[in-house]
């Protein structure tokens, strides 16, 4: 667990399809710094580089140039294995399409990131049960994802993202697949958990309602930071 870390992107550029003229520059020289416990929204038109930025922050992808630093240490140049270990312990993901594993029950999905870290099944179960209670799905632990509504699936995904108590929670369009009622509930939940755990929360969204809840608003355009607005506490 690396809660409370300062995260920086220093001169980050990401080019897809090679560095020649045919390459697509998704991000261009991004410099950003996220203080511990911030709630940040990233907005911008389609193709501006939002998801790429999120993937780089989450070490799912590596920058073509530049560094991704946690407490000043570049964590993006490690091996795939090192980055995976870092993701497991320090970063939680919430995806637009939930990405729960359909062959596992709700409890098993939440327990999944704990498997490499906690040997005791009882302890894993207890942690998963606690998280499921906190997202209001304690009674549905034995269900499969296909037996849940979209809102419930996303709440399970949030529980899974937080089960290892990560320092950074990344959410890519977390309400994109939900109706407004469920979207509101999910956002309330994310916000409450962010406040309660002091987790840095970075949300990519098109939805102004989602963005409105954040305290810092980044807007990207053509792979560059167009604006970076911080609300006063």
């Amino acid at each position: 667990m690396t809660s409370g870390a300062t995260i920086e992107l220093a001169g980050v550029t990401k080019v897809y399809g090679g560095s020649g003229p045919a390459g697509v520059r998704a991000l261009r020289g991004i410099n950003l710094r996220f203080r511990p416990g911030q709630y940040v929204s990233i907005e911008g038109p389609s193709g501006c580089g939002k998801t790429t930025l999120l993937n780089l922050l989450g070490l799912i992808d590596t920058p073509t140039e530049g560094e991704v630093r946690w407490e000043g240490v570049n964590v993006a140049d490690g091996s795939e294995r090192e980055r995976a270990r870092f993701r497991l312990r320090s970063i939680g993901f919430v995806f637009q399409r939930f990405y729960l594993l359909p062959t596992l029950t709700v409890r098993e999905n939440v327990e999944l990131p704990l498997r490499p870290l906690i040997r005791g099944r009882a302890e894993r179960r207890a942690r998963a049960a606690q998280l499921l209670e906190s997202v209001g799905l304690g009674a549905r632990a034995g269900f499969y994802p296909s037996q849940l509504s979209g809102g419930e699936e996303q709440r399970v995904a949030i529980a899974r993202a937080l089960v290892n108590s990560p320092g950074l929670l990344l959410a890519d369009e977390p309400t994109g697949e939900l109706d407004s009622d469920n979207a509101g509930k999910v956002l309330d939940l994310l916000e409450a958990l962010h406040r309660e755990r002091q987790t840095t929360l970075i949300v990519v969204t098109h939805n102004p309602e989602v963005a409105r809840r954040a305290r810092r608003h980044l807007t990207l355009r053509d792979g560059r930071v167009e604006s970076d607005v911080r609300e006063e506490a």
């Binding site: 995976a84 993701r87 990405y99 490499p116 009674a139 549905r140 632990a141 034995g142 296909s146």
Partner: protein, 417 residues
Amino acid sequence: MSERPPPGGRKPGSLPGLLAVVAMAAAITLPVVLLSVGGGVSSHEIARLQASGYQIVVSGPGTAGIDLAHQRVVQIGAIPGVGAVSPTLTMPIDLRGPGGRWVPLLAEGIIPSAYYATLGSTASQVFSAPPNLGDPTDMIHYQNGSYEGPVSPDVLINTTLAQDDHLTVGDSVTLAPAANDSGAVTYTVTGTFNVVSSLFSTSGNYGIFLPLSNLQVLTGLARTGPGAGTLLDAADSIHVGLTGTASTSPTQIDRVEAAIHALMPYYGVSTLSQEASQLEGAASILNGFYLVLSSVGLAIGFVFLTLVLVRRVEAERREIGIRRALGLPARSIAATIVARAVVLGGMGALLGVASGVVTVTLLARVGSAPVQAASRLALFEPMQLIALALGALALAGLASAVAVRRALRLPLPEALR
């Protein structure tokens, strides 16, 4: 309080997985059948050889390649340590019973007392005394020179033939070299014998015994008479039984073998242990051949399983991507794929072994007569079956390695797309 989940949550079973199991099972079935039947027949032959009542065998080239058979009985019999010398001649002939039907048969010409002495322990299941075929030494009419005189046209027939053609002891039958009366001779049935598969295989169903000289006369392979020129008196092989310590001492057996060789330098003379080792060598070569043949099936099973696993990786690329995005170690992702491969390979191996056993059992019941006889001798060696199952698991492991490599090389952002 937890709620009861509604039905139908899990994914349905996979048809390609089932097909992979079937492919592996088919690949394992072939070696199980080949090795069990081939090994069984070889073991049976070796056991039969070891249970023989003779230690040395003389063989001539081709059919009826040994001449002067009766004379050689006397010559070989004079070698110290030799207890019995039994020449045999096996020829196809035709038999006509009281019903008038011609039946093609395999006739075994023997010298009754010598034959009995060299039959060994399994012979007791067939004959309790030298076969009742008139002159036990088959020498009276032979010594007469022209095969005339007090001949004894006796024949023993097997019980299957006796039942099929309603023949009993005392009946007259006609034997001829071909299915017509040309050269036909009337014989008297002096006894019947049970067909013991361990001794005669299926050819026993079509077998009869008669004195060696009678069969020689019937098939034109007799001695033509003093001064007549050609001296046939043919046989296929001569079995030589030893007595006392000569029968067990390798040195003495070799000594007698050398003495026989000196008498008959143009014939093959080999000891039973040489025969057994030749048979074992042939069995090993055949087993190797069976394994090579089976490897084709196993290769197909392997390719199929690999394709199924790679296809599953492709189909589950997002799930694999999710696991990797969550930070699960590569080994846990690999373990999932390997476990799946081992389950499919293991199920295929178990099904294949079971299917092989069932196939052999069915062949022993519904195959053609030779196939039935061979299948009944099948030996299912546990170590061999375990080795085959482990081989299937090793192939599954290899197949999973290809799939794991594929899974771990998926670009993560693409896998999550």
